[in-house]
């Protein structure tokens, strides 16, 4: 009698049950969104046309998926091969991250079958948003081709794996170019709204801020991600990856700490150039300082201490701190400090269905990541392709 219940036990784990419930609720909200319209599930209005689907799913999703291009650049362009073990997990995260960004965008703009229109039928070449859309479309395609060798190895399609391996360097270079373009352009989107975004967050250099912060966000995400997979998918990690991941944490933490120090300096410079000192004494100023000191300055110092002490645990927990800081920064720019002059009753707060949709999309990403990481050579090397990643 115990035989038939065995597979049921492996399926009905707490992880699967929680994910199943979230996906079910998400599915119901998806049907509501696409049958009843955006107004039925969101608190968006004419004052606040962008909510958390843009602020969190898109802006945070793209920033935290930056680990893909950062790791590729580190390993293949700067030739630091000791970070090779981080490439595949980072590419998978980036691929899923961007795919879910596009999915979230489908919820936000609606009529997803018209998503190709701005690219192929009616190009708005004078719009920053057009550049972002074009880059995201191209980069998602590049990430797909960067990820696909792992799937070919899993399927044992040697010929296809050989052919895609020949163009991998071109894909890497193209991916980095596209990332530098749209990571900064996402910040440049807000250049058009100086009267809506609070002066402490709005700056002529906001595109530079977005680009630089995406680099240390990506590095921190790679470190944090390894902490999570080491905890939950340890049996899928081979010994080489396990040892190399400590080098990745130390190297990326060192680079991220210095970048964060530089980022803090250019933020101060931005305040000086716009002469925004007077705002620092206000409540908005305190919130800005909380973000800059609490989520950029302090973690940079803690990263540095972690690197000096070679304390991997400290570095890993700091990476989570930095990831939270990036989320806070993107939400501040797109939601909290946006429309800051509006009275409180006109300000935006997401509905529970918007929040649940975001949870649904993140859960979907985690489930697909787990599905792929368990089966394909992401956290370990395929025995037929040693040193060929």
């Amino acid at each position: 009698m115990s035989q038939p219940t065995q597979p049921l036990k492996t399926v009905l784990t707490p992880f699967n049950i929680i994910c199943g419930i979230i996906l079910l609720i998400g599915g119901i909200i998806t049907i509501l969104r696409f049958t009843q319209g955006i107004g039925a599930v969101t608190n968006l209005d004419d004052n606040n046309p962008w909510g958390i689907w843009i602020g969190f799913d898109l802006l945070c999703g793209v920033a935290l998926a930056a680990g893909g291009y950062v790791t590729c650049a580190t390993c293949y362009i700067f030739g630091l091969k000791r970070f090779k073990c981080a490439v595949r997990p980072a590419i998978l995260t980036a691929f899923l991250g961007y795919a879910l960004v596009v999915l979230a965008l489908g919820y936000d703009v609606g009529r997803p079958w018209r998503l190709p229109y701005p690219i192929f039928l009616s190009q708005g070449t004078s719009s920053v948003l057009f550049e972002v859309g074009l880059c995201v479309m191209l980069y998602l395609s590049v990430l797909f081709f960067e990820f696909i060798p792992a799937a070919f190895e899993w399927l044992d399609w040697k010929r296809a794996r050989y052919i895609i391996g020949k163009v991998s360097m071109v894909l890497v270079i193209f991916g980095i170019i596209l990332s530098t373009l749209h990571q900064s352009s996402l910040g440049a989107l807000f250049l058009i709204a100086p009267s809506k975004l609070h002066p402490l967050w709005h700056s002529g250099y906001i595109a530079v801020y977005f680009f630089i912060s995406s680099i240390f966000a990506g590095m921190s995400m790679v470190i944090f991600e390894h902490m999570v997979v080491d905890r939950f998918l340890h049996d899928r990690i081979d010994e080489e990856h396990d040892i190399e991941s400590n080098n990745v944490a130390l190297g990326f933490a060192k680079a991220a700490a210095f970048l964060m120090a530089g980022y803090l300096m250019i933020q101060v410079m931005g305040i000086a150039i716009d002469n925004d000192w007077k705002y620092l004494g206000t409540r908005w100023g305190l919130w800005f300082l909380f973000e800059m000191i609490g989520f950029v300055g302090l973690p940079a110092v803690v990263y540095a201490i972690g690197v000096r002490e070679q304390n991997i645990k400290l570095i890993q927990w700091t990476s989570f701190w930095v990831v939270l800081g990036i989320v806070l920064n993107r939400l501040n720019i797109s939601l909290v400090a946006f429309n800051w002059q509006l009275p409180l009753n006109l300000r935006y707060f997401p509905s529970w269905m918007e929040i649940m949709t975001t949870v649904f999309i993140v859960t979907l990403g985690i489930v697909i990541f787990k599905f792929i990481a368990i089966r394909m050579p992401i956290l370990h090397e395929h025995p037929d392709y040693p040193d060929d990643h």
């Binding site: 120090a261 530089g262 300096m265 410079m269 000086a272 150039i273 540095a304 000096r308 070679q310």
Partner: protein
């Protein structure tokens, strides 16, 4: 100091002046932070 700014020239002089001072601070602070960051790295002999 806000009331002393009447023209774009005043504004640029004021903000650029502070920015230049901050650059001097950055030129000192960032190398110090770098030496703190790498202070315990294995030293490689380059000679």
């Amino acid at each position: 100091m806000e009331h002393d700014i009447h023209t774009l020239q005043d504004f640029m002089t004021h903000t650029k002046g502070i920015a230049y001072l901050l650059i001097a601070v950055a030129l000192v602070a960032l190398p110090l932070f770098w030496s703190f960051l790498t202070g315990r790295d294995d030293k490689k002999k380059t000679f």
